[in-house]
Every structure is written in C-alpha cells, then in structure tokens.
Point group: C2
Chain length 160, copies 2
C-alpha cells in the first residue's frame, strides 16, 4: 500500500513534468527523491524507476542544471548520489522567471526593429516585453520570499 502511494506520486509527478514540457523521467526522479528523502545513486534511480542508466544520468544532470538537484559524494562509496536541494520549489520559480526574462529581452530587441509609426506594432510588442520583464521581477521576489522562509519543513534528518 505504501509502495502503491509512492508509485502513484512518482507517476503523477512524471505526468506533471511532461505537461510542463519537460521529460517525464525528470518528474519521476523528483518524485522518487522526494519520497525517499535521502540521496540516491544512479543505479538506485534506474532500478527503482525501471529506466536506463543513460536516462537517469541525463535527467539528473538536467535537473541539476535547473538547480533542483545536487550531487553529493557519499563518503564510503565512490558512487555519486543525487539529492533534492533545500528548496526545489524556489528553483522551479526561478526557472520560470529566467525564461520570462529571456523572452522579455528577446521581444524588446525585436520591438526596436519596428518603425516608429506602423499602426502601433512597436508599442504592442514592447508592451508584451514589459509584461514578461515585470512578471520575471515579480517571480524573483516571490522566489526570494520562498527561499527566505527557513521553515523546519524539509529539515530534521532523523528519518531513515
């Protein structure tokens, strides 16, 4: 039954990830590590999720690049292990904010290429760019607030 709950959570997070336009396996990795609450190795990942080591490697590093996972070198072993960072949620917001900011820059640059008087196209494009930029700022603030709250929610490693 416990197994089933974990399994369902992992699968659900895989689907969420997929909906967000990310690999399904990336979400499953997050789910697995969230359930386990402790660092896990590539081998453990590939076995627990029934995926190839190649996929496990690729996806863990993808999540690392998004700041959601970190590599921990477990002492007694030469295997790398992977763990959720302290606030994966904050990183998630940060990723969205970064994408918005990229879009903002892109659109502002492009807006500059429009002639001044052309039915207001330049203004409309700039308006959209502003939206992206302001929203990015907004999310970054929100992220700061999330990271600031050092609640003891994720702490207390007395388990396992």
């Amino acid at each position: 039954m416990t197994d089933s709950a974990a399994q369902r959570l992992i699968e659900a997070m895989g689907l969420m990830s997929q909906e967000d336009g990310h690999p399904r396996i990336a979400g499953q990795v997050l789910g697995y590590l969230l359930v386990e609450g402790e660092p896990r190795t590539l081998t453990q990942l590939s076995e627990a999720l029934s995926i190839s080591k190649a996929s496990a490697s690729t996806n863990t590093r993808l999540l690392e690049s998004k700041g959601m996972l970190r590599r921990v070198s477990h002492v007694g072993s030469r295997q790398d292990a992977w763990a959720l960072v302290d606030h994966p949620d904050g990183q998630m917001i940060g990723t969205i904010a970064a994408r918005f900011r990229r879009n903002a820059d892109m659109m502002r640059d492009l807006a500059g290429e429009f002639p001044d008087r052309q039915g207001g196209a330049r203004e409309r494009v700039n308006g959209f760019a502003d939206f992206y930029r302001v929203s990015a700022d907004f999310m970054d603030e929100w992220r700061e607030r999330l990271l600031g709250e050092t609640r003891a929610k994720q702490a207390s490693p007395e388990d396992r």
Copy 2:
C-alpha cells in the same frame, strides 16, 4: 525591412511557444495578431504564416481555450475573425496558476495516502503541494493586478 522585423518577431514567438511546450504555430499566431493589431481571418492567418487552414483552425481554438484569443464576427463578412483579448498576458499567468493549482490538488490527495510515520514522506509531499497552492494564489493576485491596470496601451484603434 518592416516585413523582416515582423517576420522575426513571429518566428521568435513561435520558438518561445515551443519552449513552453506549446505548438510553435500557436506562438506564431499570437505574434502575427500582435503585429497586425487587428482581427484577422483564418485565411489571412494561413496565408501569412504559410500554414494549412486546418492548423490555423486548430491553433486558434487552442488559444481561445486558453483565453488568449477571441472570435469576433466582423460585420460585413461572414468569416470569423480572431483577435487578441485585451490582456493576453494576464491570461497567460492565469493558465500557469491553474496548472499549479491542479498540481497542488493532485499532490495533496496523494500525500494523504502516505502512512503517518514513514520517514516524513507525507510531510515532504505536503510541503510541495503547499508550494504549488501558495504559488497559484500568488500568481492569481498578480494576474488581478495586471488586469486591473486598464492602461490605454492596447486601445486607440485608429490604425488600419
């Protein structure tokens, strides 16, 4: 040169859309309507973007379902025309918020299936669910603020 600027914007927005996990054409449609600033028909869309009418139809309705486009019945013509809603940006935030809220509910339900004492898995999952929910609330507020600002940015239909 103008043509080129519009073209580049449209292509860029297509790529952004694709990065967000949406059809590229959807982004191109947004870009085209943003540049034009006036309602455009299916035929105009398919010709301007060099896409099939089927694609134009599918994608406009997709964007309509996300609240970013609306169908306007231009008087003198029996053709439907499509236009950006007043605040497509707000709708964009709303869509993200909705997805977050869906994720929050999903995870909260799943968290409930975990046994109380199991290494704190239930708590961790609930923590993630909370994050999704609180963020969704936060974005909805932000969206309200965006929609509230009735700036005359998109108005003044003196062109065309």
